[in-house]
C-alpha cells in the first residue's frame, strides 16, 4: 500500500467523515483484476464500500504506437492502428486510411466506400457484442457473454473470409481496398442480418427487463451531457446523456450520408441508458448494413494512389465515429514518405477520464459496472 500511496496522493477534497474514527481504505483494483478489461489499475479510496474517489493508473500496455508512426511509411503504419482498439480494428483502419487520403487529396471509389461501410458496421456490432458480454459478466450475469460470443463469431467469419484475419484485420488500404470481395460476400452479410436480428431480441430478453439488471444499472454512474462535453466524452456515453452527437451524421465521412439511420439518445445518462443506446445502435447498424449491401455499386476498389506516398507538407485532422466514440487522427506531413507526427485521439482514453466523476459516492460494485459501461479497451487507452 505504501507504494500506491507514494504513487498517488489522491488528495481530493475529502467530505466530512461520517463516523468517528472511520478509516479510509485505499485499495488497488488491477492491473490484474478480472473486471478492469485488461491492465487498467484503479486506486480506490473507500469508506466501507462507498467510493470517495479514485484514480486511474494507465500505461501498462503502452507500446508507443504514435512514435512508431514516425519511423514507418504511411503504408507501413497502417497495420499498427489495428492494434489500438483491437476489438474494433476495422474502424481504426478506416479512420487512419481516410485521414491519409485527406492528406493526399484522394478519395476511395464508391464500391470501396460501400464495402468499407459494411465492414465497419459489422465491426461496430462485434464491438458492441463484446461490450455487452463483458459488461453483463461484470454485473454478474454470465450467460450473455456466451450468447454474444457465439454471434460475434459469425462476423469474424465474414472478416476471415474477406481478408484472412479475424481480429486485427488490416482490411483497408490508403485509397481503397486491397482485395475484391469474395464470392458470396453479399449473401453472407444478408445471412448475418437475418441471423442477427432475432439475436438482439434474445440479449434483450435476458437483460432489458430483468429486475436485478435494472436495479444494478438504473441511476448508476450518472453523468450529465454538460459534464460529458466538458470532459470530451464521446460516443454512446455522450449520447446516453442526451447529446445527439454522432460523427456519422454531424460530419459525414465515408458515404454515411447515403444511408438512413437514427441516432439513439438517452435521457438520464445512467448505465441503463448507455446499455439501451448501444442495443439500439446495434439495430441501427443492421439497418445501415441492409441498405449498404443492397446498394453496392460495381467499379474499381482502389483509387489512383502513388506507389511511394509523399503527401504534401501540411496537417490534417480526421475523425470517425468508432464504436466507442470519436476516433481522431491528427497527421502532420513534412513531405517525406514518413509522417512527421501522428497523434491519435482515442475514445477510450478520453472516456476513461469520466470514471472518477461517475463513480464518486457510489459503491465498489458500481465501479465495476461503470468501467464496463464506459466500454474501454486498454490497448487504445495506452497505445
Amino acid at each position: 500500500m505504501t507504494d500506491s500511496k507514494t504513487f498517488s496522493p489522491l488528495d481530493l477534497d475529502t467530505p466530512e467523515k461520517p463516523y468517528l474514527d472511520a478509516n479510509e481504505l485505499v485499495i488497488n483494483m488491477g492491473p490484474q483484476h478480472p473486471a478492469t478489461h485488461g491492465v487498467l489499475r484503479v486506486i480506490l479510496r473507500l469508506d466501507g464500500e462507498k467510493v470517495l474517489g479514485l484514480e486511474c493508473v494507465i500505461g501498462y500496455l503502452h507500446r508507443g504506437v504514435e512514435k512508431i508512426a514516425e519511423n514507418r511509411t504511411y503504408t507501413m503504419f497502417n497495420p499498427y492502428v489495428d492494434r489500438m482498439d483491437y476489438v474494433a480494428a476495422v474502424s481504426n483502419g478506416l479512420g487512419y486510411c481516410e485521414a491519409v487520403e485527406k492528406l493526399l487529396n484522394v478519395e476511395a471509389p464508391p464500391r470501396a466506400q460501400y464495402i468499407r461501410v459494411i465492414l465497419t458496421e459489422l465491426n461496430r456490432i462485434a464491438s458492441h457484442q463484446l461490450w455487452l458480454g463483458t459488461h453483463a459478466l461484470d454485473i454478474g450475469a454470465i450467460t450473455p457473454l456466451f450468447y454474444t460470443f457465439r454471434d460475434r463469431e459469425e462476423i469474424l467469419k465474414i472478416f476471415e473470409k474477406y481478408c484472412g484475419a479475424r481480429l486485427t484485420t488490416h482490411a483497408f488500404r490508403i485509397g481503397g481496398l486491397q482485395y475484391e470481395t469474395y464470392n458470396g460476400f453479399e449473401q453472407d452479410v444478408k445471412n448475418f442480418i437475418s441471423f442477427f436480428k432475432p439475436k438482439i431480441d434474445e440479449y434483450e430478453e435476458l437483460l432489458t427487463t430483468n429486475r436485478i439488471w435494472l436495479e444494478r444499472t438504473k441511476g448508476v454512474g450518472v453523468i450529465s451531457g454538460k459534464d460529458c462535453i466538458a470532459l470530451g466524452v464521446t460516443g454512446p456515453v455522450l449520447r446516453a446523456s442526451g447529446v445527439k452527437w454522432d460523427i456519422r451524421k454531424a460530419q459525414p465521412y465515408a458515404n454515411y450520408k447515403n444511408f438512413e439511420f437514427e441516432i439513439p439518445t438517452g435521457a438520464s445518462g445512467d448505465t441503463y441508458d448507455r446499455y439501451m443506446v448501444r442495443m439500439i445502435e446495434m439495430r441501427q447498424s443492421v439497418r445501415i448494413l441492409e441498405q449498404a449491401v443492397a446498394g453496392i455499386p460495381e467499379g474499381p476498389i482502389m483509387a489512383k494512389v502513388p506507389k511511394v506516398m509523399k503527401p504534401p507538407v501540411g496537417e490534417v485532422y480526421h475523425s470517425i465515429e468508432a464504436p466507442k466514440g470519436e476516433l481522431g487522427y491528427f497527421i502532420v506531413s513534412d513531405g517525406s514518405t514518413q509522417p512527421y507526427r501522428v497523434r491519435v485521439r482515442p475514445p477510450s482514453f478520453v472516456n476513461l477520464q469520466a470514471l472518477d466523476l461517475m463513480c464518486r459516492g457510489q459503491l465498489v460494485a458500481d465501479v465495476i459496472a461503470v468501467i464496463g459501461t464506459l466500454d474501454i479497451v486498454l490497448g487504445e487507452v495506452d497505445r
Binding site: 450475469a141 456466451f146 460494485a365
Partner: protein
C-alpha cells in the same frame, strides 16, 4: 461374541434411528455412509453444475477427462491436493489455518439430523431444526476468520459482506422456519415438534406438504426460505462475498490448494444442507408423492419402482451417448468407459429392483430427488441472474423478506388457530 452380534443385530429390528436406539456402532456406520454419500454428491454436483451451466450457455463444458468429462471432478480434486499450499506471510497463521476447517465442520455437522427416511438419520433430536440452523450459521464465523486472517483487502471486504449478508438473511429464514413449525402443531393435540423426523411425520398425518398448507401461507413461507437459503449459501444472485468480478474471489482469495477445496466442499455441502431443510420442512421430506391418497399395495409397488427406473433411464442415456460417440480409434477408450459407466448404472438399477432393497431405499430416493431439484434451481439461478449490489441485497433482506416473514408468521398463527378451533371453516 454373541453379545456383539446381538448388539449389531438388535438395531436392525428396532424402528429407530441409531442415535435414538443408542447404538454407537450403527451411528458410526451411518455417519460414514452420510459422509461418503455427501462427498459423492458434491463430486456429482460439481460435474453436473459445469455441464448444465455449459449447456445453458451454448457450450459443451468438460469433455476431455473421461467420456463427457465424467472424470473431471477427480482430476480437479487431484490437482487441488497436489497444489502448493500457499500461506501469505502477513497472514494470521493459526486463524488462517483453522478457518476452512470450521466452515467445513459446520457444513458437515448439520447432516447429523437430516432425515433421509423415518429411520435413516444419524439421530433424531427433539430440537433438530434449531440444531441445523444453529450449526449451519456457525460457518459465517469461519468465513469472517478466513477474511480477517488473510490480512488483505479483498478478502476482508468479502468477509464483511458475507457476515452482514448471512446474519440478516438468517432472520427472515428463521421466521419462515417458525411458521412451518407452527403448522406442525395443527393437530388434535395441538402440540408441535422441532424434530426433523417429527416435522415430516406431521406432514403425513395432516395429509399435505406444508407448501400447500393454509394456502398460500405455506407457499410464501417456503418462498422466503428459498430466497434466504440462496443468500445464506452465498450463491448467485447473492454471491457478493465471492463476487468474482468485483472482489476477485472474496474471502478465499488468498487460499489455494487443499484449503481452498475445503471451502468449495463446504459451499456445496451447505447448499445440500439448506436444501434438505427446505425439503424436510415444506416438501414432505422422504414422503413419496401422495402417500395417503395413493396408498395400498399396488401404489406402493409402483412408487417403489421409481429408483430403479431412474437409474435405468440414466443408464439408457449413457448407452445412447455411447452409440453416438465418434467412431474414431482415438475415442475407443472413452466409448468403452462410457459403456462401462452405463453398465454400472444399469447394475445399480437392477439392485434397486430387488424387493428387499427397493422397500428400504425408496425413502432415501424421494428425499434425494427433491434435494436434487433444489440443486438444479441453484444452477439455473446462476445461469440467469445478474448479481445484486450490497445495499440492494440488504434492502431485499430487511425491507421485503423480513416483513413478509413476520406477516406470514402472524397469519399462520391466526389461521392455524382458527382452523383447529373452527375446523368446519377450512375442512367442511
Amino acid at each position: 461374541m454373541q453379545e456383539l452380534l446381538n448388539y449389531i443385530s438388535s438395531y436392525l429390528s428396532s424402528d429407530q434411528t441409531p442415535g435414538g436406539a443408542g447404538n454407537f456402532l450403527w451411528a458410526l456406520i451411518y455417519i460414514l455412509l452420510v459422509f461418503a454419500g455427501l462427498s459423492v454428491a458434491v463430486i456429482a454436483m460439481n460435474w453436473l453444475e459445469r455441464k448444465i451451466l455449459a449447456h445453458m450457455q451454448v457450450r459443451l463444458g468438460p469433455m476431455r477427462v473421461g467420456p463427457h468429462g465424467l472424470l473431471q471432478p477427480f482430476a480437479d480434486a487431484l490437482k487441488l491436493l497436489l497444489k502448493e499450499d500457499i500461506m501469505p506471510d502477513e497472514a494470521d497463521k493459526l486463524i488462517f489455518w483453522v478457518a476452512p476447517f470450521i466452515v467445513t465442520l459446520a457444513a458437515f455437522t448439520v447432516f447429523v439430523v437430516v432425515p433421509f427416511g423415518p429411520t435413516h438419520a444419524i439421530t433424531d433430536m427433539n430440537i433438530g431444526i434449531l440444531f441445523m440452523l444453529g450449526v449451519s450459521s456457525l460457518s459465517v464465523l469461519g468465513i469472517v476468520m478466513a477474511g480477517w486472517a488473510s490480512n488483505s483487502h479483498y478478502p476482508l471486504i468479502g468477509a464483511l459482506r458475507s457476515s452482514a449478508q448471512m446474519v440478516s438473511y438468517e432472520v427472515a429464514m428463521g421466521l419462515a422456519v417458525v411458521s412451518a413449525i407452527l403448522m406442525t402443531s395443527l393437530n388434535q393435540q395441538g402440540t408441535g415438534t422441532l424434530s426433523m423426523i417429527g416435522i415430516v411425520e406431521a406432514q403425513q398425518a395432516q395429509g399435505t406438504w406444508f407448501v400447500f398448507k393454509l394456502f398460500p401461507l405455506g407457499l410464501i413461507a417456503f418462498f422466503i426460505f428459498a430466497v434466504a437459503m440462496v443468500a445464506e449459501t452465498n450463491r448467485a444472485p447473492f454471491d457478493l462475498p465471492e463476487a468474482e468480478s468485483e472482489l476477485t474471489a472474496g474471502f478465499h482469495t488468498e487460499y489455494s490448494g487443499f484449503r481452498w477445496s475445503l471451502f468449495f466442499l463446504a459451499e456445496y455441502s451447505a447448499m445440500i444442507a439448506v436444501s434438505s431443510i427446505a425439503v424436510t420442512l415444506w416438501m414432505g421430506g422422504w414422503l413419496r408423492p401422495f402417500p395417503n391418497a395413493l396408498s395400498g399395495s399396488t401404489w406402493n409397488l409402483v412408487f417403489s419402482l421409481f429408483p430403479g427406473i431412474t437409474f435405468l433411464f440414466l443408464a439408457g442415456m449413457c448407452f445412447y451417448s455411447t452409440a453416438r460417440m465418434p467412431k474414431h480409434p482415438y475415442f475407443r477408450i472413452q466409448t468403452a468407459g462410457l459403456a462401462i459407466f452405463g453398465a454400472l448404472l444399469a447394475l445399480i438399477a437392477l439392485v434397486l429392483f430387488i424387493p428387499a432393497v427397493r422397500v428400504r431405499i425408496q425413502d432415501i430416493y424421494w428425499f434425494c430427488i427433491k434435494v436434487a431439484a433444489f440443486m438444479y434451481l441453484y444452477i439455473w439461478y446462476r445461469g440467469t441472474f445478474p448479481r445484486y449490489r450490497f445495499d440492494q441485497l440488504m434492502k431485499v433482506g430487511w425491507k421485503i423478506l423480513l416483513p413478509m416473514g413476520l406477516g406470514v408468521l402472524i397469519l399462520t398463527a391466526f389461521f392455524g388457530l382458527w382452523s383447529t378451533t373452527h375446523t368446519n371453516l377450512w375442512h367442511p
